[in-house]
């Protein structure tokens, strides 16, 4: 039972063919990510660190199925989901993008939480959806903003809304791409508490972060270095690992 990458290799496609002229630099080969083995068990928190451009977001996009590896497999609770439709991933894995605005598309905050459910479920289940949405709004302190446009919220509010929207599905695993970037101390505190709760309820979390305030929560730390997913060490055993 885990969200697992096994012997995965992903290479971004070559950019569109460009006419080459004398004096042009040769186009560098596209970025490649390799991961021999990565496992995220339920009720654990794994943190991914690494320099800018080392492939953290690429790794997270592989974990949630947005990118399909050219080699290797993505397994969720033993099922091979490599190349499966995104909706199949979405039922088990929740993903919060590095840029929260990229995953908000409704016209109001409350609609953001309910719109997908309304498209996928029968009408008689809508009141139940509405209740879940209201509960999440209260939990995320967004009740006052319910009629506002998600595009006009502050970055921190967007981040909270994006996470709330993902939790509407109650996924078993969560992948968060730099969830604390741009948050103030109180919001980070709130995020830590929330992640702890989710973890205790049995969710497996993979948190991409540079934030020293989030790292103590994680049981394990994974580092990406120039596309190689390297050491997978318990943070307790080597707390200074991968610190610059």
């Amino acid at each position: 039972m885990a969200l697992k990458l096994s012997k995965v290799c992903y290479r971004y496609p070559e950019s569109a063919p460009q006419q080459s002229r004398a004096g042009d630099l040769a186009t560098p080969s596209p970025f490649t990510l390799r991961c021999d083995s990565l496992e995220i068990e339920p009720a654990t928190m794994v943190c991914v660190t690494g320099a800018n451009g080392s492939g953290k977001s690429t790794l997270s996009r592989l974990l949630c199925g947005i990118l399909t590896p050219q080699a290797g497999a993505v397994l969720i609770d033993g099922d091979d989901l490599t190349g499966a439709p995104l909706a199949a991933f979405g039922r088990r894995v929740g993903y919060v993008f590095q840029e929260p605005a990229h995953q908000l598309f409704a016209t109001t905050v409350i609609e953001e939480l309910t719109c997908i459910g309304q498209l996928t479920t029968a009408r008689r289940e809508h009141p139940c959806l509405q209740q879940r949405a209201e509960a999440l709004l209260r939990r995320f302190n967004l009740s006052d903003l319910r009629e506002r446009s998600p595009q006009r919220l502050s970055h921190g509010e967007q981040q909270r809304l994006a996470l709330a929207a993902v939790l509407m599905q109650e996924p078993r695993y969560l992948v968060l791409d730099e969830p604390s970037s741009g948050l103030d101390a109180a919001s980070v505190e709130f995020l830590c508490q929330l992640l702890n709760e989710l973890c205790q309820q049995g969710a497996g979390c993979c948190v991409i972060t540079h934030d020293p305030r989030l790292r103590p929560l994680c049981g394990r730390e994974v580092t990406t270095v120039a596309g190689e997913v390297c050491c997978s060490t318990p943070t307790a055993a080597c707390p200074d690992k991968a610190r610059p």
């Binding site: 569109a16 947005i66 979405g90």
Partner: protein, 215 residues
Amino acid sequence: MKRLLRDARTKMALVTLLTTGAVVIAQLGALALILLLSLVAAGAYGASLPRMLRRWRAILWLLGVVALFQIAFLRTGRALLTLAGVMLVSSDGLRVAGQVSVRYLIIMAAALIMSTSSARDVTQALTRLRLPTTFVFMVIVTVQFIPRFAQLFRDSLAAMQLRGLDFRRISLIKRARAYLYLIFPVIAAALIAAQDLAIAMETRGFGAYKKRSAR
């Protein structure tokens, strides 16, 4: 000759010709011919059509939805399909839907042709044509922003599916509604980006001098 054909200016002239044709011409047959020409030209310039089709699947869908709306709401002309006395499909509706779709497809093919030149080549070509700097800048900005919006569009689409929406499992009407949701963040982001860029340019003194040295 080959170099002349591959010059960004030649492509620009071609693209201008094709898109002008797409906007001016109204006959469906002629439009289809222009589309065919554009696609052949894009193929000749080495653009990969299957890859573009895959990437633009969502946009093509959106085009289909818009066409359906036109067929549904335009009720003039000959009736082609009636149900219990109510006109469902009219000749005008079908014609307009076809026109609009083919026009958009031509514009997409034109973008495909331009995408085979690098942004730098396009900038140089425009500057050499002695066009005003402001205009050149506008074109560059537009060209540079397209990949960003495309990424935003793809991210929103992925986010939607990850939240459990399986496009193949819902009805056509719901699918149309889902695609309409996707336009919204792109437009909002475009407006916000345009505002930010205008301010950033002004703070860096764009337009403060009539003449630029790099000509």
